[in-house]
Symmetry: C2
Subunit: 292 residues, 2 copies
Amino acid sequence: MLEFGKIVLFGVGLIGGSFALALKKANAVEEIVGFSRSPNSLKIAQEIGIIDRAGINPAHEIADADVIMFATPVQQIPTILEKIFPYLKNPNTILTDVGSSKLEIVQQARKIMKGKIGQFVPAHPIAGTEFSGPKAAFPELFQNKKLVLTPLKENKDEFLDRIKLAWRICGAEIFELDPESHDTIFAGVSHLPHMLSFALVADLANRENSNLFFEFAASGFRDFTRIAASDAEMWRDICLSNRYTLIAEIAHFQVVLNNMMAALATNDKKMLEQIFSQASQARNEWAKNKQK
Amino acid sequence: MLEFGKIVLFGVGLIGGSFALALKKANAVEEIVGFSRSPNSLKIAQEIGIIDRAGINPAHEIADADVIMFATPVQQIPTILEKIFPYLKNPNTILTDVGSSKLEIVQQARKIMKGKIGQFVPAHPIAGTEFSGPKAAFPELFQNKKLVLTPLKENKDEFLDRIKLAWRICGAEIFELDPESHDTIFAGVSHLPHMLSFALVADLANRENSNLFFEFAASGFRDFTRIAASDAEMWRDICLSNRYTLIAEIAHFQVVLNNMMAALATNDKKMLEQIFSQASQARNEWAKNKQK
C-alpha cells in the first residue's frame, strides 16, 4: 500500500539503502530521491534501485517531501540540517534519522529547528553488518530487528506513528527509550565493544612482528574482531557524538579489567574464576533468551 | 593404519575427546584409556566412544602406554604429572599436552621430570568452540586447523615425529614456535580477547539495570562476546598459567585504549579515525588472507 509520498534520503549506504529497498519492495513509497556526498554511491544507489533519482537541489526537493531521512554518518546531520532547514515550509514533513547515538543529535536539532523541533523524530535501527555502502544494502536487513525511537515531548503522536509505520513495513519491532538511557545502553552493548575490538586489532597491527600474531589468530579472534572491520569514519562519528557517555562506560569497564589484572598479578584463582563465571553464565543466559 | 598402541588420556572433554575420536575414526590407535576427575564425563566419554575404557589405576595404565596425553585444564597437569611420574618406566612413552600456554607447563614438567624431560612434547592445537565436555567433541574439530609444537632441545626427533603424526591424522597443519613466542602471540590473539570479552559481559551483568542492556544487545555484541561463554575454569587456568605475559599484553592494550579515550575527551576526530582505520584495514586484510 502506498503509505508514503516522496521520501528524501540523505545517505544511500547500508542503512538508508536497506530502508529504501524495504519500502520499495512493499510498494509503500511513491518516490525516493537520494543525496550523497559521493557521486559514485549515488550512481550505484540508482542502478540498484535504492533511489528513483538523484536529487540536485535540496531546497527544491524537500518542499514537497513526506519524510526526510538522515542516514549519513551522524556528525554530518547538523551540517545538512542547517543547510536545508530554511526551506522546510511544510509543517507535515517529518524529519528522522538512523543515528546510533541520540542525545547530541537531539540537542543539535533543537538548536537549529527551534519551534519546529516537533517535526524531528529521532530513531535508531538496531541492525547492521560490518559492510557499508549502497552495495551492502538489502531489503531484509531490518526483519525482526529492533527499532528504537527516542521521542521528544514536542513530537505529535501522528508523526511518531508515521515513522513507526515505515519501520514496521521494514519488518522491525518498535521500542521507545529516552535519549539518555538510549545512549548509555548502546555505549555499553555496542560502542564500547567496537572501541575494544578496534583497539585490540590496532594494538596487534602496530607490532613489529604483527604478521606472526595474525598468522595464529583463529576463530575466537575472528568473532571478537568482526566489528573492527566496520567503517572507520562512521564509528568515529558515533563514538564522538556519544563521547561523554562512552568515556564513562570505558572507565567503568576499566575497573573490571583492572580487577582482573590484579587477580592475575596475585595469582588469585578465586577472584578470576568468579569474574569469568559471572560473565559466562550471563552470556549463556543471554543467548538462551535471544533464541526464544 | 594402526600407528599407535595404547593412548592414556587425562581429560576427555572437547579437545581430548575430539583428538581421540579423530584417531579412532582413522583406525590409528589400538586402545584409548581415559581418566577424568568427573565420573560422569568418563561415563559419557565411554558411551560416545571417545575411550575404550575408563582407567582405574594410573600407575598400572601408563606402564605400557605409547602416548600419555594431558587434556585437562592446564593447571591440573603438574599435579597429575607428579602423581604418575614415578611409574613412568618405559623410555619410549611420549607425554604430550594440549595447553593454551606453554612456558609455565614446560618449566613445571622440567622440575618434575628432570632427566626424562625429553619424553615430554609440548603441543597446542589452535581449535576449540565455546562449548566444553565430552559431548562437545567431534572428530573433525582439528581439520585444517593449526597445531603448534613448542619443541624442547631435549626432545628426540623421533618423539616429535610421532606427535606430529598423531595430529596430522587429526587433520591439523603442524607449526613450531619456541615457548616464549608462543605465549606472547597467544596472549595477544586469544587470551587477551577472552579477558576483554569476559570483562565486558561481567561489567554489564553487574549493573542494576543489566536486563535493559542485554535486551538491546545485538549481533555485534553476540560475536564480540561469543568467547565470554567459554568455560570459566579452563580460561582461569590458561590466563593464570600465562599471567606474566598476559599482564604485559593488557598493559600494552591499555595504551591504545587510553589514546582512544584521550581522542574522545578532546574530540580529536583525526586521531580516533586514524586508530579505527588502521584496525579496520588490518582486520579486512586478515580476513582476506585467511580465505586464501
